[in-house]
Amino acid sequence: MKIHIKHGRLIDATQSLDRVADIYIAAGKIVGIDKAPDGFQANQVIDATGCVVSPGLVDISARLREPGFEYKATLESELTAAARGGITSLACPPDTDPVLDEPGLVEMLKHRAKQLNLVHVYPLGALTQKLLGREITEMCELTEAGCVGFSQADTAITDTQVLWRAMQYAATFGLTVWLRPEEPYLANNGVAHDGEVAARLGLKGIPAAAETLSIYQLLSIAKHTGAKLHLCRLSTAEGVEMVRAAKRAGQAVSCDVSINHLHLTDMDIAYFDSNAHLKPPLRSQRDRDALRKGLSDGTIDAVCSDHTPVDDDSKLYPFAEAEAGATGLELLLPLTLKWAHENKVELALAMQSLTHKPAQILGIPAPSLAINSDADICIFHPEQAWTVSAQSLLSQGKNTPFLGYEMLGRVTHTLLHGQIVFNAQHV
């Protein structure tokens, strides 16, 4: 398959590339920019006039719900949604059923994803068996099976001895530990930011200190054990400041923020909207502003969808009992563009938080528009408007606090290994 993408605005910050040009693809690779290689005969020409041509997006947290929760979503439905979102690589957390704590399960998932051939799937293995925080997993075996990091998903390791050992062991083999900072006792049963909204609505709060205490603990242990640490889903201003200080002091730590926390606050819970029940909780405007700034100045390395499809029935509960999580694969790009626009971040810079920076965290080759790179490409129209609704989303998860919002930016084509895996005209 030979593809000629015409007149698109090629953006790839790693190549200092930001200009309108033609790009040529053959045998799954990028073979030419501006000028076709000799004898190039395109099977397909994509007119990308007015569109951005970017390396494919990398989403470092998307729950695919397989195995175990197929009634919420399937690999096929979610990878289709990811391709629609312009995502060519994604990492999925291990909180499936069974938990991704055995090499066989990881191999199976990799195999299934490969067969579907829509998105590269990089599983995160469980750091402890069954995520129970007691015994560590066979991290080397799991890495061989395809895991790119080790995570506890939304559960915490309460026993600090186990946490210490898990990080020591991961550090031995240079593996990255992914943890969401939340002190479990302070957060116990909490469902909302411990502030005015929780006070008014009578919801049990989670104080910001639950995050900062945990960050302090994790940074200390990572420093002493030499483990590579990735902090998932920061939600507080103080948390951002702690990571900023740690980075300044030279510690090897990375972190991310979700699209939800980049835009919303606890006020968006409004009258108990269970779509706004998220982990970590949506916090104050001050926190949100700090997260936005942290992403601009590079303290926060990547933005992720934190895609968590939940079936309607599980959201039809009073706020605290409704399952936490929101769909996000198809919102990752437009909501990152929205942040870039509102925070006056240049498009080329913004795209880095969606492409090579998250790839670095995963330790996978950065998607690129350089000649001879794999042709994993996302083509999107940055100004095209669309409205978020159950009908407009391909994901099986229809739950998001952004329902009814107008988004700017829509993917027209996604290419994986030079194959068109999504074409907006065919939806």
Partner: protein, 329 residues
């Protein structure tokens, strides 16, 4: 005129309790209810106080209507007063204590509601242990049905808040010149939240909450109250003392060391009450823990209006039901 129309429309957009004309459709919380509606309820309740003293304690306002008391959380008093209120309005009343397993509560709620709707219930009175349960039900019921929140988690207990301000208004008609203290477990209290919203809406200038830090929500002052940790300072010169019930499980949650220490520090004794204005009234939403939050000498004393609260509770609930039934749906 233009301005007020605009306000109603705004209220409709953000307040699921009001219909498009700004009339009360559900009573879910006092927060966000216009003063006009609060006064309408209180004035209507005034007219119902006399009904109980008649030989035939009934008015035909809800004749032919079916009121469903749906209690997902145990309650005797609130359920009984709602039942009496509905019966005095000539409604048919069904009371259900829905026992729930913690796993399938939500399913049970909506399934139960749908089943009862199919049996042509007109009004649901709902109590549930989770904040927001009544809002969720109101969001999913058929358009002709009215929902009254009889307590949802820590969030709201609007009829209790209303009967409390009704009682205050009865004894202290000049609401614009009052100091009101609410004492005890504010953190877990839906009653306190509803009282605070009712009092601020009606223009009470000074509301104090008095509690240890463990029993106060974070940023409670944003609700428009003054925070006191010292009960002796907090009770000084107040016109109304509203005590809250203290649940025993607070001791297990490391929020308090013992009920004895709580009584010593925050319990309302005659000595502490003496710090308030001499004509101050004492209220309690019940059921009381004598010797934990309130001394019997105060509970049964001449400043106590705890029993009139119960009596007015029926009138206030009659008012809410009749107003909801009277509003076109």
């Amino acid at each position: 005129m233009e301005v007020s129309i605009l306000n109603w429309k705004t209220a409709d957009m953000y307040n699921p309790q009001l219909d498009k004309d700004g009339n009360l459709k559900h009573l879910l919380t006092i927060e966000g209810l216009p003063k006009k509606i609060l006064n309408q309820i209180l004035d209507t309740a005034e007219s119902f106080v006399g009904v109980a003293e008649r030989e035939v304690k009934k008015v035909p306002l809800l004749r032919g209507k079916t009121v469903c008391n749906l209690f997902f959380e145990n309650s005797t008093r609130t359920r009984t007063t709602f039942e009496i209120a509905a019966k005095r309005l000539s409604a048919d009343v069904i009371s259900l204590n829905v026992s729930t397993s913690s796993q399938s509560k939500g399913e049970t709620i909506l399934d139960t509601i749908n089943n009862l709707t199919a049996m042509h219930a007109d009004m649901f009175v709902v109590r549930h242990a989770q904040s927001g349960a009544a809002h969720m039900i109101a969001k999913h019921v058929a358009p002709h049905i009215h929902v009254i929140n009889a307590g949802d988690g820590r969030h709201a207990h609007p009829t209790q808040g209303l009967l409390d301000v009704f009682t205050i208004r009865h004894y202290k008609p000049d609401m614009h010149n009052l100091k009101v203290a609410i004492v005890g477990d504010i953190l877990h209290s839906r009653v306190a939240r509803s009282e605070i919203h009712a009092l601020t809406t009606l223009g009470v200038p000074e509301i104090r909450v008095i509690a240890p830090k463990t029993l106060l929500p974070e940023q409670v002052e944003k609700l428009g109250v003054h925070v006191y940790h010292d009960v002796n300072q907090g009770l000084k010169d107040v016109d109304v003392v509203m005590m809250l019930r203290l649940q025993n499980e607070r001791m297990a949650g490391a929020m308090l060391p013992s009920s004895q220490e709580f009584f010593k520090t925050y319990g309302l004794t005659p000595e502490k009450l003496a710090l308030a204005k001499p004509d101050a009234i004492v209220m309690h939403p019940g059921p009381m823990n004598r010797g934990v939050e309130i001394d019997s000498a105060v509970a049964d004393g001449k400043q106590s209006v705890i029993l009139p609260q119960v009596t007015y509770g029926i009138a206030v609930r009659m008012a809410v039901m009749s107003i909801l039934a009277g509003n076109p749906s």
